[in-house]
Subunit: 387 residues, 2 copies
DNA sequence: TTGTACGCGTTATCAG
DNA sequence: CTGATAACGCGTACAA
């Protein structure tokens, strides 16, 4: 800038003004522009930030950038953030809480203008660090109590209920559940939702049907193998799609047919669910939508830090695909009215015509219990809102 | 810092020295430390950067952060970068070249200390922007000629050859090829490799067996459907794993058995290959290793910008799994005894029965042409979840 | 409109 | 060892 000003024969203040588009006579503008172009001037973002107190950077902290659900969320956030002229800084926390608190602490050095964080474990001082963060923070996920923090959540308990309702409606009674760690917020919420949903259907819970691993493929597979070694489910609900893929492999390797012998439902409704064969039914928790909303909340707060804390909720929905389509063949009941006539009975000769439900090209089948496709309305009555 | 110094009764210079661990008498250190703790002093990273001319940020630009191959690369890079105390800034370019050049131009504002970029298209001025970048840049991928840019590459032509050799050794002759765009660097290299490999085996190339889409799942599926509509391959090589998953779905939906009717091989050897059923054979291009090496090159260059340009090469390998295991059944082989029906309702093609070699639990089978088993599976990543 | 001068928060230099 | 002071590069009151 100094050299530009010298070259244009003006003061650095005039040069700065022209380059920022404020003020300047026609002649000055011309000279400065020319000089800047000649020397290939590019403003130093650091110095600019020191002056403006804003970096134009927004951070996103999730535990695993490899999980497709976070990829979806990240894309949505990046889209919003980029369209505001900012850049996105991505952190992988690994779910380790010390890692996250360190991140929050580092926030104080003002390297980012704001942060979106999706913690899976929340402790007291974690929460404390959140509320008195020196820069705006938006939390994606359940946050105990009504902490004064911008927060976008979904009702995963209700999401679990949607899945259980669907399975029960298909005649399944021995519904297994492969969950993530119970000391995580999503793990605890799903566990509670599962137990509540079974109770609502007067189905006694057989603890043999419940397994816990972590939220990954390998753990999901191992947990399912343990479960299959001791009992015989006719359906399996998995706490996320990665687990569901692991469960699918365990089931197929054990000779179970999906969905005939065991219906399978995942959660998060990621790309992965559509990429499996058979395609996986999955509970959509609106991850992209939550990301989008979180990004918007953050940008608003950056613009006006005095805003009161806000909380938004994205309703879950159930997307039924081949892995849980059709009633259980063991169920001796007439198909429920409204149940899509998709499933052929085992042993029935195959109609040559491709049927929508099993063709991977076909779109998702909407569950009769879930209402119209996409997010379904919430049931605050039957399901508690927060953890 | 000003208030800390005042509170400690020393000059800001002394405070700075103590907080940076250089110099200071025992008494001064005590006073400054106490004062800093009292006011909860946190150094301002921007001001520090303005002075030190380094931000501690490193950028990574890839086409699609949702592609598992880039996730693997990203993880490897993040690991190296984080262990040097820096942070990783991730950009999704969408493969649009204007996007990348804009990114390179913005590099001039000094917001990052260096950048790793994996371009899939390279033009002349793109290359020019690369070579006279104001900050260190390392390129992952083929770079035409011997541009004076740090560069980590693999030999994807050789990788394609490994796959073709393997398929031919299994008795396959009508080998199809589903590629990405030919105007991309990887697309062109794979195409050339495929043609060369066939020629080496004296197999005439039937253009009906070649299809082109982009490097995504949906395009891979559509391309495979087009291919199947006009000809009958006994093997399919796909330019990456996302395409291979799309091809798998197209094959199964068309009633082809994998690998009995059509052997399937992907490229990149991502997690996705292991998550499919049957598990996909895939050409490992060492993406994690290339990422690791690129990060190390970048850190070295940041430390010493005077270093001469370096080029490293990571050899490809073939990981054989169920999707291409065993010889072609058309080569005289008795059908397997009693394949149990596994998944799928009537009309839905069932995935192959879990034979020992296809058990997803089993480790990859080493291809005789590939030498020792490919790179170890990705490190145990953090758990995945959602809320 | 233009130029001077100060401040953003730190670190580094140089006398004392 | 310590303190005053000059950068770092830019934006912007303020006065001319």
């Amino acid at each position: 800038m100094h050299t530009v000003a010298a070259r244009a024969g003006v003061s650095i203040a005039s040069a700065s003004r022209v380059l920022n588009g404020v003020g300047g006579s026609a002649e000055t503008i011309r000279k400065v522009r020319a000089a800047a172009a000649e020397v290939g001037y590019v403003p130093n973002a650091i110095a600019r930030s020191l002056q403006s107190q804003r970096t134009g950077l927004v951070a996103l902290a999730v535990e695993d950038i490899g999980n497709p659900v976070y990829v979806a969320m990240m894309r949505a956030i990046e889209s919003v953030v980029a369209s505001s002229g900012r850049q996105l800084l991505v952190h992988a926390t690994g779910g380790r809480i010390d890692n996250e608190t360190a991140l929050l602490r580092r926030l104080a050095n003002r390297y980012v203008d704001g942060m979106i964080i999706s913690p899976i474990r929340v402790t007291a001082d974690h929460l404390a660090a959140l509320v008195d963060s020196p820069v705006p923070v938006v939390v994606v996920g359940q946050l105990g109590a009504d902490a004064p923090v911008d927060n976008v959540r979904t009702d995963s308990r209700h999401g679990v209920a949607l899945a259980v309702d669907h399975l029960v409606a298909g005649g399944r009674r021995r519904i297994g559940f492969v969950n993530g760690p119970l000391d995580t917020v999503p793990g605890a919420a799903r566990d509670a939702g599962f137990r509540a949903a079974l109770a609502r259907h007067d189905i006694p819970l057989d603890e043999d049907l419940v397994e816990v691993g972590d939220f990954q493929y390998a753990a999901g597979r191992a947990a399912t193998e343990r479960l299959l070694a001791r009992t015989e489910p006719d359906a399996l609900l998995c706490a996320n799609d990665l687990i569901a893929v692991g469960a699918l492999h365990a089931l197929l390797a054990a000779g179970r047919r999906v969905p005939e012998d065991v219906a399978l439902v995942g959660m998060d409704d990621t790309e992965l669910a559509r990429m499996m064969f058979p395609q996986l039914s999955s509970v959509s928790l609106g991850s992209a939508e939550r990301g989008r909303r979180a990004a918007e909340l953050l940008l608003q707060r950056i613009a006006d830090p005095a805003l009161p804390p806000r909380r938004e909720q994205v309703p879950p929905g159930l997307v039924v695909r081949a892995s849980s389509a059709g009633p259980s063949p063991t169920a001796d009941r007439a198909p429920t009215a409204g149940e899509p006539l998709t499933a052929g009975e085992a042993g029935q000769p195959a109609p040559p015509a491709p049927r929508p439900s099993t063709d991977p090209l076909a779109g998702p089948i909407t569950d009769p219990f879930a209402g119209p496709a996409g997010p379904a309305p919430t049931h605050p009555s039957s399901e508690g809102a927060s953890s």
